[in-house]
């Protein structure tokens, strides 16, 4: 294993694929043993990652319609901010956010969620 890759793994960062693997205004899933992570791509190729569980009743956010920097949950149409994971008011709740970065068209994802989203690991189902 190359040194750089090794550091990444230690920090729980992984290369999950190319930006172009995700449709514009779409999302795909990274399957982990701790649950699915939804990776979103906006119209201008920004990439965001959230726990694939809607704060409402656990709907798979990866299956929703992406618009601007939001996704609409496919189950009951809550809107979630992609950049913060927070539900768009008046709804309340949040989906845990995972750090991502894009280098040379490749998506690097950290499997350690950001702090600050209380329910991040305990979604209501």
């Amino acid at each position: 294993m190359q040194q750089a890759e090794k550091t990444m793994v230690e920090n729980n960062w992984i290369d999950v694929g190319q930006v172009s693997d995700i449709p514009k205004l779409g999302a795909r899933v990274v399957r982990t043993k701790d649950g699915d992570i939804a990776v979103f791509r906006t119209a201008d190729d920004e990439v965001f990652a959230l726990r694939d569980q809607c704060p409402h009743k656990g709907g798979p956010l990866s299956q929703g319609i992406v618009h601007g920097k939001r996704v609409a949950c496919p189950l009951h149409d809550w809107k979630i901010h992609l950049d913060s994971g927070l539900a768009v008011a008046p709804d309340e709740g949040c989906a845990a956010r995972f750090p991502v970065s894009v280098e040379d068209g490749r998506i690097l994802l950290s499997l350690t969620p950001d702090e600050g989203c209380p329910n991040s690991n305990a979604p209501k189902v």
Binding site: R31, I65, H67, G68, L75
Partner: protein, 811 residues
């Protein structure tokens, strides 16, 4: 080649006919218009306010020259037609201009009646009919002086009022002792006279004009009794005569006017006539409301729709003198067999009289307070029995319910069908709907969209009250079809029109062209646009996956746990042991946790993981199944009963009919889900009368029903029509479906759509108009060529693979 349509007479009735025609059949004719007056089409009614200095000519133009250009109409302005060759079908104008026609419309209006007395041709004697007359009056008025208006009817009083406002001294001469005797009874006429006198008009009643005196121009008017009064201007406003000269000259049958039948055709079937020049069932008309009705009928026949009939009109009158409210309609004089109900309040200057016979209104006259005029008029035309509210009749409609005050409450109390604008026949409901659907805020917008208040203007107060009322808090509860979503200003219909008219072919193009307010729309507008584009450009538009809801994007129904259901099509609800065995095997192979029989006679495999979808579809596809589209705004199922093959009551082979319909329609995307059913007899075991399109077999053929649904708000279908053959069922089904696809709003089911546009409209388009039905069915067929591709097979073979596999698996 297009047919040629020539209109003679560029006035209100003729041009309205063209407008109606362009709405119905914009491309059917090459249109040419001859107008003796050197202008576009203007609102003749508003010459009175122009004369009074309240409006300018520009403000009363209805169709300026640009309008003719925009609509590809050739306008010969200032050219009077003097000859028509009906054999060669050529019209010729005084200056030699010739045009050929396939169809001709005569709309030459009427001529002012000039009393044949000495001096009638002197300069300074004018009629009141067109812009030129107004110009002459205004020129005369600039020298102030004294005007004599002969005729105390509607026209004469409006002229007198205008000239007075222009600073002239004005005397009105009337042969009888009651003003406007055709429209008013004595008390109302008396109130009117008093109020006009207060404004400064002078009246000579019961005076018969004998001669107009003067050398080179008008100097005085002399009466039978010898009285002479000086005059600088004489306005003849004693009446009008239908202008049928040209028609008579070319041998068309005329009596007082050009005689037409109920389709507005003259005795020469290529020649139509509308407007004041017309005589229909013995009557001639001198007000725009009936003429506009004629225009509608005439256009309907020119567009070859062929179903409208003009059956004559009941008219009502309002006087357009600012500050004077006056209304009359019907038989307001009454006789021995009628009763009169009168309300008089001299203090407020209010007078109302309603003439009643056998508890039905025969006529009404009102002065001072006319707000209930349109209500009485409606009760009269509908021949409504008023015994239930007789006591309150004179107090007006607002008094029927809770007591209320002010215009606002009164308009609130009016029924949706109450006519607000008599000229253009616009009802309260139309206006309210336009205000809320089109988001109108000003009087001008309402005029532009509904034409209400755009002719004589006397309903302006009511329209304004309606605006206030509709925009006010109370009304906002009713769902108004505002913009499609906050991303845009436009509503559904506008978007569809723009997509069609501007040739917009992608979601991006629509957003760019129509200035979307958000970067890439929202979950409301994107699926709607995707559907509209798909419907408009079959075969050409490339479906935008990312603008589809998840179910349609992945061709399966998402369940609450994120798994999916798979429902294969089972044509007409019929299956075979072989198919059932295949389903059983596939369900076992993929460990399907639940197998369910649906309400639509299909078998549902539930709990499928997304990754397994292409695999299970591949197996189903191999066994001969295609997608059932149970997940889409699309054709769902055709439910059937066993029909006459087995059932002792069956009248037709309902199962086969259902299978045929499903084969015809499957795969089509629709504004909302669309379900069908066929029952083999009126016992209706397949519940066809709560479907979007339901067929009930009967001995003599098939009854077609539309616009039903189960769901939260159950609605039974409306009966569309009866047909005899299976081919007809299919054609009507395709046509109805296509009309729905083309005209309903996205996410509007057939039930609310039918209620919104009206069953009559749907019948017009689908049942009565065979040509249109065939065209709709053909367009449906065309779009089906591209739609009937099994999405499951394609995906089993690898299409959209990214949808069904994770980006990456870790750990």
């Amino acid at each position: 080649m297009k047919q040629r349509l020539v209109l003679i007479g560029n006035g209100m009735a003729g041009v309205r006919t063209l407008e109606e025609l362009l709405k119905l059949a914009p491309d059917r004719y090459d249109i040419t218009v001859f107008g003796a007056e050197p202008y576009g089409n203007y609102n003749r009614i508003l010459l009175s306010p122009v004369l009074a200095g309240e409006k300018t000519i520009e403000q009363i133009m209805l169709n300026d020259e640009q309008w003719y250009v925009d609509n590809g109409i050739t306008l010969h302005e200032g050219k009077q037609v003097t000859a028509i060759d009906r054999t060669k079908r050529i019209v010729r104008a005084a200056d030699g201009t010739e045009e050929k026609y396939d169809r001709l419309i005569l709309a030459t209006g009427s001529m002012p009646f000039i009393i044949p007395i000495p001096g009638k041709d002197l300069p300074g004697v004018v009629a009141f009919r067109d812009i030129q007359d107004v110009d002459r009056m205004l020129a005369a008025a600039s020298g102030k002086g004294h005007a004599v208006v002969i005729g105390g009817g509607l026209l004469g009083l409006e002229a007198a009022n205008g000239l007075l406002k222009q600073g002239m001294r004005v005397s009105v001469v009337h042969l009888l002792d009651t003003l406007m005797e055709k429209q008013l009874d004595k008390p109302a006429a008396g109130l009117l006279k008093r109020s006009l006198e207060e404004r400064g008009l002078n009246f000579l009643m019961g005076a018969q004009t004998e001669a107009i005196l003067g050398k080179d121009k008008v100097e005085a008017v002399r009466f039978k009794d010898g009285l002479e009064i000086p005059a600088d201007l004489v306005v003849m406003a004693v009446g009008i005569r239908p202008n049928a000269e040209l028609a008579k000259q070319v041998g068309l049958h005329c009596e007082r006017g050009v005689v037409v039948n109920d389709t507005m055709q003259t005795f020469d079937p290529r020649v139509y006539a509308v407007g004041e020049c017309v005589q229909h069932r013995g009557d001639t008309y001198g007000l725009v409301a009936p003429l506009f009705e004629q225009a509608k009928v005439c256009a309907n026949h020119l567009a070859e729709l062929g179903y409208a009939r003009y059956e004559g009109s009941v008219t009502s009158t309002k006087l357009k003198v600012t500050g004077i409210d006056l209304f009359s309609a019907g038989d307001f004089q009454g006789d021995d067999s009628t009763e009169e109900m009168v309300l008089q309040d001299p203090g407020r200057g209010v007078y109302k009289k309603v003439v009643v016979k056998d508890n039905r209104i025969q006529g009404a006259v009102m002065y001072g307070d006319t707000i209930d005029g349109s209500w009485y008029f409606q009760l009269m035309r509908d021949n409504t029995d008023i015994s239930g509210f007789r006591d309150n009749l004179l107090f007006g409609q607002a008094h029927l319910g809770d007591s209320g005050h002010g215009d606002d409450n009164r308009v609130a109390a009016m029924a949706d069908s109450a006519e607000i604008c008599g000229c253009n026949g616009v009802c309260k409901g139309d206006i309210v709907k336009a205000i809320s659907d089109k988001r109108l805020f000003t009087l001008d917008e309402v005029r532009a969209h509904t034409k209400a208040s755009s002719s004589c203007g006397s309903c302006t107060g009511l329209v304004e009250a309606l605006l206030a009322h509709t925009l006010g808090g109370e009304y906002s509860q009713t769902p108004s079809k505002k913009p499609l979503c906050p991303c845009t200003e436009h509503n559904h219909d506008e978007l569809r029109t723009a997509i069609r008219a501007e040739g917009l072919k992608s979601v991006r193009a629509v957003m760019d062209h129509l200035n979307w307010k958000t970067e890439d729309g929202c979950p409301k507008c994107r699926p709607a646009l995707n559907y509209y584009l798909l419907c408009q450009w079959p075969g050409e538009y490339k479906d935008d996956n990312q603008s589809r809801f998840i179910n349609e994007r992945v061709h399966a129904n998402i369940q609450k746990d994120g798994t999916y259901s798979v429902i294969p099509r089972m044509w007409g609800g019929e299956t075979t042991p072989k198919e059932l065995m295949a389903i059983a095997q596939i369900a076992e192979k993929w460990n399907v946790p639940t197998v369910h029989v649906t309400g639509g006679q299909r078998i549902d495999l539930l709990g499928i993981k997304k990754e397994d979808l292409p695999g299970i579809w591949g197996d189903l596809s191999e066994a001969g199944f295609v997608s059932g589209h149970a997940y889409g705004k699309a054709i769902r199922t055709v439910k059937t009963c066993v029909g006459k093959t087995w059932c002792r009551f069956g009248t037709q082979d309902s199962t086969q009919m259902g299978i045929d319909l499903e084969k015809l329609t499957w795969g089509s995307w629709t504004p909302h889900k669309f379900k069908l059913a066929v029952s083999g007899c009126p016992r209706n075991c397949a519940e066809a009368t709560i479907k979007d399109f339901g067929v009930v077999c009967v001995d003599s053929g098939y009854e077609l029903h539309v616009g039903g649904n189960g769901g939260v708000k159950v609605r039974a279908t409306d009966f569309l029509c009866h047909v005899k053959t299976e081919d007809e069922v299919k054609e009507y089904c395709a046509a109805f479906l296509q009309l729905y696809r083309e005209e309903a709003h996205y996410l509007e089911r057939t039930a609310p759509w039918v209620e919104r546009v009206g069953l009559a409209y749907i019948k017009d388009r689908v049942v009565e108009d065979a040509e249109n039905r065939a065209a709709l069915a053909e367009r449906f067929g065309l779009s089906q060529q591209f739609a009937q591709v099994d999405p499951w097979k394609a995906r089993a073979e690898g299409l959209d693979a990214h949808e069904y596999s994770p980006l990456k698996r870790v750990g």
